[in-house]
Amino acid sequence: MSTSVTAAPAAAGMVEFERTTSRWGRLTMIAGLVFSLAGPLYLVFFADLGVTATQLFAGFAAVAGTFFVIWLVEPLTYFPILGSASMYQAFMIGNISNKLLPSALIAQSTIGAKPGTPRGSLAAVMAICGAATVHLLSLLIFVGLLGTWLISIVPPEVTEVVRVYVLPSVMGAVIIQAIVSLKQVRATIVAFVVAVLVLFVLVPLVPALSMVATAIVVLTTLVIGWFVRKREGAAGQDVRPEAP
């Protein structure tokens, strides 16, 4: 199932795709930004709650103090995985690591496309659109329409367990999925070693780094993974689609 495409039209087609998604991705993201800020600004200015500018600034400053590193680091961390087109989707749709990345990865492995190739980025974009559709619908129906009713029938112990353990329940599966479908033995080993060293040695020594631990692991894995990569001819790390 090797799709040999002559380089020139492929490049032209992808350039056009990048231009469209960059322009419209940016415009839609700005629109999303405006809508998401309009709500709280309405409350502040028109709801007559007596909120002062000082209070707002204090609240935001406290949040910024905790998170400003993440604001910068997360886009940098996910860019190599998502590519520019999906960046404008992912950071508006949210739940990137626990929903969008697994969806993109599974779609790529289903059609046998590699992340980073044109096929891989189109598969990721389509997968994120599919994930967004499911997500918007389930939010509208189960939270928007039925939320107040559901909360009355779902035992609080259940929602509490989901809240506390949702991350490990997603990540365990996703790690296996990534290892199996990417078939990058060396990068996998590097990632494990680096993650263990960063999480269980570096972070306990320098707790301030805990917020950027993932970014450190990603960057280090990237660099070491690049130097230890398998070098075979021109095809490099080419991976055949998985056997069905």
Binding site: T28, G39, M126, V143, A191, G225
Partner: protein, 256 residues
């Protein structure tokens, strides 16, 4: 990591207090639905663009549809998990804020942390008697501004990174195939292992989820079982959370 102490009590959920009266005003609903609409429009534009570019990338319309379907099916498990967490927070933030903040932009752990940090600056506690409409407005503003900063960073950094990517791709095309895979592995393995020190139940959940996925992927190699590749994630989440629930009930969970 999630410093939320006050979960809404059943009583608070039953009678809409003054906070919920403010939090569920129609204007906030309109803004929330606006975000939904923007994402829907963006998806349509992206699908059209992908369809146009597909032949050039050597991709059949069938493969585009398969990708969309795979992504959609794979998202069912994670989406329902987010839904369950979101409804638990309805009593705290009202429906519109939960839809936008918890459901979309950002994620549960970030938003709840941001909310309790912002509430802390006013001396109030989320869900407590000090949690007034005024505090809600401050909290909602701080969460939203925080989410906005993510988007601003994305808007500024993406074009810059894109330029860097083009330059690197020219220097060595292999970069473009090695780097994303290594980054993906690094991100997932780091996020997964970060759960290990939290508690025994976290470890059990992580392992269950991993084993279920492994079994699903093995069975998916059999003829006629390919669908398990897509449904595997949902099953792993469900079984992982079931084990977490049982282990928690057995008293293995973290104190408190």
């Amino acid at each position: 990591m999630i410093p939320i102490t006050a979960m809404p009590s059943a009583a608070a959920a039953a009678e809409p207090g003054p906070v919920l009266a403010v939090a569920n005003t129609p204007v906030l609903w309109i803004c929330a639905l606006g975000v939904f609409l923007v994402i829907a429009v963006q998806s349509v534009i992206y699908i059209k663009a992908a369809r146009k570019a597909a032949p050039a990338a050597g991709m059949s319309p069938q493969e585009l549809r398969t990708s969309f379907r795979s992504g959609a099916v794979a998202a069912i498990g994670p989406s329902l998990a987010v839904v369950l967490v979101a409804i638990a927070l309805l009593a705290l933030f009202g429906t519109p804020a939960v839809l936008v903040r918890i459901g979309l932009i950002g994620s549960v752990s970030y938003e709840t942390a941001a909310a309790s940090i912002a509430a802390g600056t006013t001396g109030a506690e989320l869900g407590g008697p000090t949690y007034t409409p005024e505090v809600f407005a401050i909290v909602f503003f701080a969460m939203s501004m925080g989410g906005a900063m993510w988007m601003v960073a994305t808007l500024i950094l993406t074009p810059l990174l894109q330029r860097g990517e083009h330059r690197m791709a020219k220097v060595n095309p292999a970069l473009m195939t090695v780097v994303p895979a290594a980054a993906l592995l690094g991100a997932f393995i780091s996020l997964g292992l970060a759960e290990v020190p939290k508690s025994t139940v976290h470890v059990l959940t992580l392992l269950t989820s991993a084993v279920v996925m492994g079994v699903c992927l093995l069975i998916a190699r059999l003829p006629g079982m390919r669908w398990l590749r897509e449904w595997g994630l949902g099953m792993a989440i469900l079984l992982g959370l079931t084990v977490a629930f049982l282990a928690q009930s057995a008293g293995l969970g973290p104190a408190g």
